[in-house]
Structures are given as structure tokens and as C-alpha cells.
Symmetry: C2
Subunit: 376 residues, 2 copies
């Protein structure tokens, strides 16, 4: 909670759930990344929060942008970034979207299979591609499936295929898992990346870039290491696995850039029990899984929640959203402790919700409007 | 797949994923419910699909409406239903929303606790309330949590409290679980409802209505009993538990009214493997969990998928959406069999997607627009 957000809420008194994001925090986060990893280009992951004010600020600060779709590429351009500062980082692209991006001037693309390489060779000839390699996501709070990336052995073939088709086999990317709390996880990934560099070199292909991905965490309930710890660990691993021939590196922070800059204000709609003898109360908010808190899926991300009664005793609650959907429950297996004096109509503040909230929000489920967003 | 949908797709050739809904099927479904349960009022669950054309058709046919929010109440009014045909069926309501509904003329409200009764007594004095009772959801494909409803013993107190506060203690509701494949599940719920009626009568309160809820299934991959089977089972149970003093009954079909009327057309964006030796292909569509297929959460709802190669041999696939989110995977634990000849760029038809798709869709996740909807 920043003073600026506190003042905004006190003055504007918005009705209905909303997310308020403080640009000063985003600026601080950007500068910390830039200072901590001085030789690494920052590609902000637009999907985390594509608010135009956020993109404008980051473009002005010199950030580059990791985009997932043509719409996100256009948003980055609108914010003032040239196409040379944009990576089309989604490994799953329609060929006509690749063509559109290339037309705009984008020439850096993610791939993880030969099929995608062939699309790029046809639709964006001569472009740079980096191959995403699978990496286990242990230590990450948001689940990492095998959806993106391929085995390292396959990555070598994919990059060679790109090279043969006239593309620039530019490098390797990986993702250690979103909200990754263990800085050492980059070490294993970098060892693997170095292996791909080496194997490609043996085939006469000189890779130049390692995309270190995202994964940098936001502080939710548990403490997380500072960005500095990540910087040191990554630099150490780069030295260890690449020696003196350090590759160009980029990072793609999303959550780590905007997560702690935003806060959701919500309202307690109902507090009740299911039976007279129940010990656990049900607390229903006016925001839930379909209103922006999708990352509570399987209770993965556990947000800090502040109330005006936090000095009082707390008791376990099941926390749920306002829709007529049984699945719209936020925390149940692991109940959330909230003040016993919390009442219907009270406001609650859900912290560290600047990333992966507004755009996840359902368009009109149950007739509820999407989450409002104020960027200040 | 109806002829009208086939013609629409062939003529209009829409670009990008879209849901096409055939109103003729909705009409048939409504008439089947009306014929099968002739003494039961139908309250269409607006949340399943609030397209204005659907609401207009159902209003014209005489349907009433189960609504989850003031916005849905306004949609039902716009479609031509008077407030006497509207139930505010969400048990979780802000007091100011109850007041707004009452101002509009709505006087039928769902409750499941004394706290909600007190809001209604203040904001909508004299209204009718029905108390939702917890009911186990076994046999249902979409998970039913304990989010809505209270224990039967508590329901008696809740209804008595309403009565004391000058509200009309109107009856009992329950929900046997969405996509309920066992018609006999209504029997247990009706036995319990009859128990609440009896206990209230002993306290001098005459309940009059049983809200049988929704749960009526749509045919996805597995066969489901016909609506007639549900009608017979429910009528038998009503007789068994209420004897000759049958209560007024209402049903709230949502999925059962519109599920099989709609179909999503999507496109294969990528087919790849993660390693040379993998046997299971990954098939990526241009629609996923955040683009309208939220009900694939935990692989709960398994949609039938048609391709132009269905006569060919099939092999297991992991099916995933187009976003840069690891969680955007539709079927993985239980792989989906698709034709080996399926190719990038092919169209696929995802059937029985008329319910719980369009409004679930994220507002702009990864820059992708919400699911387009055509009602024909």
C-alpha cells in the first residue's frame, strides 16, 4: 500500500471492485532490474498488465517488450517502443500474425519446434529466432506445465533447421516458472543453455543470446529474495557455464515489474455459516476467480489481504467470489485467517495484485463488469 | 451441428474463434422442458448465456428468469419479461443491489443464511424468499462446492427468521450439481425439502414452493438421459415425498437450455512434440481456458470436437490454448484423441458450447479479444 494509492482511494471512493496501480513503484522496479542486471536488456512481459500508462512509462525508461499477440505488439508501438524493442515471445503464433508482426518491423520470434520455424521462415524471412527449452518449474508458485519449450536435444535441431532456412539462429530461452522463489533455479537452466550453445557451435552455428525469461517474484504472503539476489545468482551462473564468452542476455519480468505496484479494493458482500455448529465462516467478496483473481486457481497464488480490523483476533474463513458459480471459491482447502470483527460491507485491500488480474477478468460473467483499473 | 450453423459458417467464414448459437435449438429445448414438466415454471439461468436474442426468444415463449446480478435483471427486463417473472437467485447480494432490484419490482430472492434475510428485510420488505439447502453433488460433472446453501436444520431457522421479519417464507431451493447425469439425485434433495416443509409447518409457517434448481445436462461426449427421464423421476419423487399436497415447483435450466444450441469454431495454430521420442502430440488451438473454455478447469467438462479428418485414425493429443500461460491447457491428464492427419490451419468445431463460454471469456488476456458470439 503506497501513500498515493491510499490518497486515491480516500479521495475518489470508487464503487465496486477496482485495481489501483502506482506508477512510482513500477519505475522503482524497472530501475532495480536495470541496476541489478546492468548488461541485460529488460523485455517487459506485456501480458502481466498492458495498461497504456505502464507501457508508456516503461518505453520512456528504455524498456523493451515481450509480447504475446499482434494486439500486444501494437500496444507496445503505441507506447513509443520501436519494433527493434519488441519480441514476439509467444511460441504459438498463427502464420498470418507472424506476417503482420514482420510487416510492422518485428524480427525477433520465439519458437519451440520446427513447425513454428517453418512458419517464420515463410512469413518473416531472415528474422532472428530463439528456441525455448523445457525446464522444470520446481520452486515456482504458479504451475509451469510442459506447454512451452522442447527438450534441449530437440532445441539443437530446431535451431539448425532455422539456420538452414535462412533465419538467424539467435539463441535460447527458458522459463524457470512464474513466482520463482529460488534464485538457484536459473543455474540449472543456464547449464542446459550452455549445452545447447556448445552443440550448435559444433554444427557451425554461433548462438549469441540467452533469454533468461521471467519468474521474478512479487512479495505475496511469504518473503521472497530481493532482485539483487537473483542478479547475483544469475551472473554467477553465467560465469560458471559460459566462462569469459558471456552471451547477450535478456529478461522478461512481468509479475516482478508490476505485481507489487497494484492493489485491489473489494467489499465484503456476505459472511455466513453453513450450519450452526460450523467453526469456519464463509466470507464472500465482490471479486473472485472470474473477476480478476484467476491466479487463485488451485489456491496457487495467496494474496495478502488487509482490513480495517487487522489488530483484532483472526479466525479461519473460506474466501469466495460473488458469482453463482460453485468453482468461484478462492481459498478453501487452506482457509484464510481474517479478523473475527470483519463485517458485511467492510472494504478489504488485496495487495500485490498489479499483475495478471485486470486482463484475466471475465468479460461479463454473471452480469458483473470486468475489473476496473486506475493507473496513478 | 445444425444445418443453420453449417450454412452460417460456410457463408460468413468468420475469422478468429467464435461461438455460433442456433435459436431453433433453444426453442426446442424450452418446449421440451415445458412439455415434460407441465406444472413447473421455467426460470432460465441467464448466466449460462445472456445473449439478448436468447433472452428475447425465451421471454416470448413465456419463460421466467433466474438472475445473478442487477445487470442480469435489467437484461431480462429488456428482453420483455416483467419483474414478476424474475428471481434474484444469487444468495450473495449487496444490500444496495437488493434495493435496486426491489425498486424495479423484483420480489423473489434466494437466501441461505440469516444475514442475507436481514438485508432483504431492510431493502425489500415483504418480499418472498426461498432458502437454498446444501445438497451433495455426486453424479455432477461440474464440481459443486459448499459455496451455496446451508444445512437443512439451519434452513428452517433461516425461513422462520424471514417470517418473523415480515418476509414471505416462500420455499426451498437446492441444486443437484451442474451437468447432473443421474435423474435420481433429485429424489434425495426432494426428501430433504419435504423435511424442511414439515418442520416449518410445525412452527406455523406454510411453505409453498420448491425450486428444483438446474443441473439438467447437455450431451458432451458421454450420453445423458433425456429430459423426459428427469421429468418422470422428479414427478415420482414429488409424489413420494409430498403426497397429494404438491408444492409449486420451478426449475432453473441454463446449460440444459442452451448448451447444445451453440458451437465454437476454432483453428489449429500449432501441432508439435516436445522431444523426438514423444508419442503424444501437443495441439494448440486459438481458443483456450481464458478465451471461453473455462469449464475445462481440472478437465471437468469434456467437449466433443469435430474436424474434417474424423474418418482417419486418431491418436492421443494434449490440447492447449493460445496464450502464454502455462495453465492454459485444456486436456492433458486424460489426452484427447484427434485425427493423425490434423494439420496446422485446420478448423475444428467444439460442440455443445452454447452455455458458460462467451461471458466466461477473459476481457483481453494476452491481447486476445473476448470470444465472438453469433446468435442465428
Amino acid at each position: 500500500m503506497t501513500d498515493r494509492i491510499r490518497d486515491f482511494l480516500a479521495t475518489r471512493r470508487p464503487d465496486g471492485p477496482c485495481m489501483v496501480l502506482d506508477l512510482d513503484v513500477v519505475r522503482d522496479n524497472y530501475l532495480t532490474f536495470a541496476r541489478t542486471l546492468p548488461d541485460t536488456r529488460v523485455f517487459y512481459a506485456v501480458k502481466a498488465n498492458p495498461a497504456p500508462e505502464v507501457l508508456k512509462l516503461l518505453a520512456d525508461l528504455g524498456s523493451s517488450f515481450d509480447t504475446a499477440s499482434v494486439a500486444e505488439i501494437e500496444m507496445a508501438l503505441d507506447a513509443g517502443a520501436g519494433p527493434d524493442r519488441i519480441s514476439f515471445g509467444n511460441t504459438i503464433k498463427k502464420e498470418r500474425d507472424i506476417a503482420r508482426a514482420f510487416e510492422i518491423g518485428v524480427d525477433l520470434f520465439a519458437v519451440d519446434c520446427v513447425e513454428e520455424v517453418e512458419k517464420i521462415a515463410r512469413a518473416a524471412p531472415g528474422s532472428k529466432v530463439f528456441c525455448r527449452v523445457l525446464c522444470d518449474g520446481s520452486g515456482a508458485e504458479w504451475p509451469l506445465s510442459k506447454k512451452f519449450g522442447c527438450a534441449p536435444e530437440m532445441a539443437i535441431d530446431v535451431l539448425e533447421h532455422a539456420h538452414r532456412l535462412g533465419l538467424v539462429a539467435h539463441g535460447v530461452s527458458f522459463h524457470v516458472g512464474s513466482q520463482q522463489r529460488d534464485p538457484e533455479m536459473w543455474d540449472r537452466a543456464l547449464e542446459m543453455a550452455a549445452g545447447v550453445f556448445h552443440a550448435c557451435a559444433e554444427r557451425g552455428i554461433g548462438l549469441g543470446m540467452v533469454n533468461l525469461g521471467g519468474g521474478f517474484p512479487t512479495k505475496y504472503l511469504k518473503d521472497v529474495p530481493a532482485v539483487e539476489a537473483y542478479g547475483q545468482a544469475i551472473f554467477g551462473s553465467l560465469r560458471r557455464h559460459f566462462g569469459n564468452r558471456l552471451p547477450e542476455t535478456i529478461i522478461e519480468p512481468g509479475r516482478g515489474m508490476v505485481g507489487n505496484a497494484g492493489m485491489i479494493q473489494a467489499e465484503v458482500v456476505l459472511i455466513s455459516k453453513k450450519a450452526a455448529e460450523d467453526e469456519v465462516r464463509w466470507v464472500y467478496l465482490d471479486i473472485g476467480k472470474f473477476g480478476g483473481l484467476a491466479e487463485t486457481m488451485d489456491e496457487a497464488i495467496r494474496y495478502p489481504i488487509r482490513t480495517e480490523h487487522d489488530h483484532d483476533d483472526k479466525a479461519p474463513c473460506v474466501l469466495a467470489g460473488p458469482t453463482c458459480d460453485s468453482a468461484d471459491v478462492l481459498y478453501e482447502k487452506d482457509p484464510y485467517y481474517l479478523p473475527v470483527s470483519l463485517s458485511i460491507g467492510d472494504k478489504v485491500l488485496i495487495e500485490a495484485t498489479g499483475a495478471y488480474t485486470t486482463t484475466y477478468s471475465a468479460v461479463a460473467f454473471n452480469g458483473f463488469p470486468p475489473l476496473k483499473s486506475y493507473v496513478i
